[in-house]
Symmetry: C2
Subunit: 242 residues, 2 copies
């Protein structure tokens, strides 16, 4: 059984690796299995990918593109926080659909090997949160919010993957998701009491203005003026007192 179709060997290697990885149930996948399934000999792998890890990185990169594509499809609903929710759910679903790939992507993160993907995922989340911030719906800096939400998102997905599929309860996901979103969002539509745990409206406004300024490259101020202005805004919007 080999992967025919006259794709170039590089593609066949990628697909073979992805397929074996997906069905490996955690057992290690050997280069010999991959090359055999791809109908190719050993050195071909090393010619194209240099390394076994190089091949796996390529598989992960392809998987991540798929992930990003999935995230972008659901993007523009006009309600940024609602989009974040969908992004979260999409992330979880991606992990549950391709658990082995997901574990390679987020389960084995080590400082020297793979934070690039995490950074990309964070950027994707931050991009969405910037819209929420510009709409005055955010309580904290978009970057911090993105990192925090993504961390919880990954943790929940790993936990769900760890459970046997029959016992999986997605309520864990929705509950954690809403908790995180609620925590980073400005007080919801209802005019809550100002003494609340939420930040003051000054802070929220500052964060919103900050996001808006960084989005629309205003040229009312010189770049040096803008830089200082943003610094002040940042100081205001991170003031501990609120």
């Amino acid at each position: 059984m080999s992967l025919d179709g006259q794709l170039p060997p590089k593609m066949r290697l990628l697909r073979a690796a992805a397929e074996l990885l997906a069905n490996s149930a955690g057992a290690p996948v050997s280069t010999r299995q991959i090359t055999q399934l791809a109908g190719v000999s050993a050195p071909t792998l090393y010619h194209h990918f240099g390394d076994k890890e190089g091949l796996f990185d390529a598989v992960v990169a392809a998987g991540f593109e798929e992930y990003v594509a999935g995230e972008r499809d659901f993007a523009p609903s006009g309600h940024p926080l609602e989009d974040i929710r969908r992004m979260w759910d999409n992330h979880v679903q991606f992990g549950l659909n391709q658990p082995e790939l997901y574990l390679v992507m987020f389960g084995n993160i080590r400082p020297e090997s793979r934070p690039a993907i995490v950074a990309d995922a964070e950027a994707l989340m931050e991009e969405m949160l910037n819209k929420a911030a510009a709409a005055g719906q955010l309580n904290v800096q978009p970057r911090e919010a993105a990192r925090s939400i993504l961390a919880a998102n990954v943790g929940v997905t790993l936990m769900l993957i760890a459970e046997p599929a029959s016992e999986r309860n997605l309520e864990l996901s929705t509950m954690t998701r809403d908790a995180m979103i609620f925590a980073v969002s400005a007080e919801p539509a209802s005019g809550a009491a100002p003494g609340d745990a939420g930040k003051s409206s000054v802070v929220v406004a500052a964060i919103a203005l900050n996001a808006a300024l960084q989005a629309s490259h205003s040229d009312q101020l010189s770049s040096s003026e803008l830089k200082l202005f943003l610094e002040w805004l940042h100081r205001i919007s991170t003031s501990p007192a609120g």
Copy 2:
């Protein structure tokens, strides 16, 4: 260089494995390295642990006991939610101190291999949350809260491990921690507006009563009566409307 001291070979193997694992920087650790450092020959490993994975499981179990011991030391402050905070911080610190061990414990979770540790960690967290529930400080079922908090805790710890040590910003941890705790806790000391996102006091009281009942094996009701009563309480305390 071998691990002397006349400990029995089983202990020497455990220590050698733990030490090599701790300094492996993600590179795989071979049985030959372990047995050589332990001053022992190959079959001894398999005699005592059956498997390489058996040895690693033993290392993980030892590490987990250390983790649990650390959690229990900080337990009884009288303020359950404050204890949860310390538990969270302790968890993160454990992960950052022994990243390789932590990655083996929580990074490679697969349904068929290792959810026992997760279950134990959840039980530990739930135990603490039961006190919070009994004190009327909890918004949701202790079990669900424990799962949710632990998931976020693991996610944050993995993210921090993935970052180069120099760039680690523990604010990610404290922010996510407080977000999660706030989300599962009943409205804080300040009397917040009743139209708030928090559940009604009826629900909180029901959850508290539920926890108290399950803790102190009351014999005012027969076991069948108690069972039904608990079911009603559960229904009340999980009612969506609040």
